[in-house]
């Protein structure tokens, strides 16, 4: 992920984590699309390349299986599917490898929740937690989830992703 986008501030801050660990990154949005459409957009490269910093994604999305996001063929994020309840909930371990500076960080946990919120509207919440401290990964993903979620919403509602900075 490009640092100019991911280092900007954005997530909802809470004081809900134990001392020593930073608060989870939490981003919630409401999308005019069905949970099934949001699920497809999260799990198919045809969508992710258009809003997820150009990444492709590969997995069979079964619990215990691995997954991989790649930018121009280079692995950016990898991990394991922990839970997959299509189209409601997707939990995965998350190891950021897009920057050598992240190599020392422990794996974290990413949860996508999709809930119907009225006819044709889905409430999407992403929670990125399990950080051991304000690690380099924690710092670099700050702001990134708001960008990804906003782009996903634009793509599903308008057919077009958000244009990126050149």
């Amino acid at each position: 992920m490009p640092a100019d986008v991911v280092t900007s501030m954005s997530t909802k801050s809470t004081i809900t984590t134990p001392p020593g660990a930073p608060p989870d990154h939490v981003v919630t949005t409401f999308i005019r699309a069905t949970p099934e459409a949001v699920w497809l957009a999260l799990t198919e490269s045809g969508f992710t390349t258009r809003y997820y910093y150009g990444s492709t994604v590969e997995s069979d999305w079964q619990p215990g299986s691995s997954y991989r996001y790649a930018i121009d063929g280079e692995t950016a994020i990898e991990g394991e599917i922990v839970e997959a309840d299509r189209p409601r909930r997707l939990v995965m371990t998350f190891s950021a490898v897009w920057d050598p500076a992240l190599a020392a960080d422990a794996s974290t946990r990413l949860t996508w929740e999709l809930e119907p919120a009225g006819p044709g509207v889905t409430r999407l919440t992403v929670v990125h937690g399990g950080f051991e401290g304000e690690t380099e990964t924690y710092r670099q993903v700050t702001g990134g989830w708001s960008w990804i979620v906003a782009g996903l919403k634009s793509l599903l509602e308008t057919g077009e992703p958000l244009p990126r900075r050149a």
Binding site: K12, F30, A117, P119, V121, T158, L162
Partner: protein
């Protein structure tokens, strides 16, 4: 309005009808009758009329048939006004308990944790159109639960947001106004604070974030030591910001109705 909605929801048959419409909108009386096999056609019609009176269902005549449509907005409003706040209060209680258990009482900073909620989103729109959407009723009525908003938006001026049924919702004073980039207002709401409590503060910032894309950041905060429960209202911001983004990017509100 809340009373009618609560009354309408208090009946299991009416909840079944809403569930059926949630699964598939626009059903006819004949189709909805199958949801309540033990009930007469007139019984089902009577329940639909109660739902219509509470504004939870609207119907439209198409040819010889009448189609029924769900209107989720009143339930969403109930949820935001009555349920979210208790859920958050319960979560806060657990958090407080955890902090108490896991922190040395002597080292607990008293006012370091003034509540502050930060939300941001990215919108394909000009800064001016986002500013207008935040400050003019012709926009707010289409994404902010139907509310109107009124002010001249000069520093020191009052502003007021009123619900779709014209009840006071949010009010305060314009503290900073730098169109189309930065708006800071004090925030008082019957849902956020008990009478006499000091207002909280809301800051909207609009920054360039790419070609034709703005980053809208909203910060809702209180002064250190304030007792105002802003967590309750802060839970509603993602829905409002999502609706604003949808309206500006598609020209249509997020939810029908």
């Amino acid at each position: 309005m809340d009373d009618e909605v609560f009354r309408a929801l208090a009946d299991a048959s009416r909840r079944t009808l809403l569930d059926r419409l949630f699964e598939r909108d626009g059903q006819t009386l004949g189709e909805l009758e199958t949801a309540l096999p033990g009930m007469s056609r007139f019984g089902v019609m009577k329940h639909l009329r109660v739902l219509e009176a509470a504004n939870l269902v609207s119907s439209r005549k198409v040819g010889r048939e009448r189609h029924h449509y769900l209107n989720p907005v009143p339930i969403r409003q109930l949820h935001d006004r009555w349920l979210d706040r208790y859920r958050i209060r319960a979560a806060d209680l657990l958090t407080d308990l955890r902090l108490t258990l896991e922190t040395e009482p002597m080292t607990m900073p008293v006012d370091a944790a003034a509540p502050k909620h930060v939300f941001s989103t990215f919108i394909r729109a000009t800064p001016d159109s986002i500013w207008r959407a935040l400050t003019q009723s012709e926009f707010t009525t289409r994404y902010w639960y139907g509310s109107t908003i009124q002010s001249d938006w000069a520093v020191g001026s009052p502003y007021e947001l009123r619900t779709a049924d014209d009840k006071p919702a949010i009010s305060g004073e314009v503290l900073e106004s730098d169109p189309p980039r930065r708006l800071v207002v004090s925030y008082t709401s019957p849902w956020a604070a008990k009478p006499g409590e000091q207002p909280s503060k809301v800051t909207f910032e609009i920054e360039e974030a790419g070609p034709g894309v703005q980053k809208l950041t909203l910060v809702h905060e209180t002064e250190p030591g304030a007792t105002t429960q802003i967590a309750e209202v802060a839970a509603g911001w993602p829905y409002i910001l999502s609706g604003l983004k949808t309206l500006l990017e598609t020209g249509e509100p997020l939810a029908g109705a």
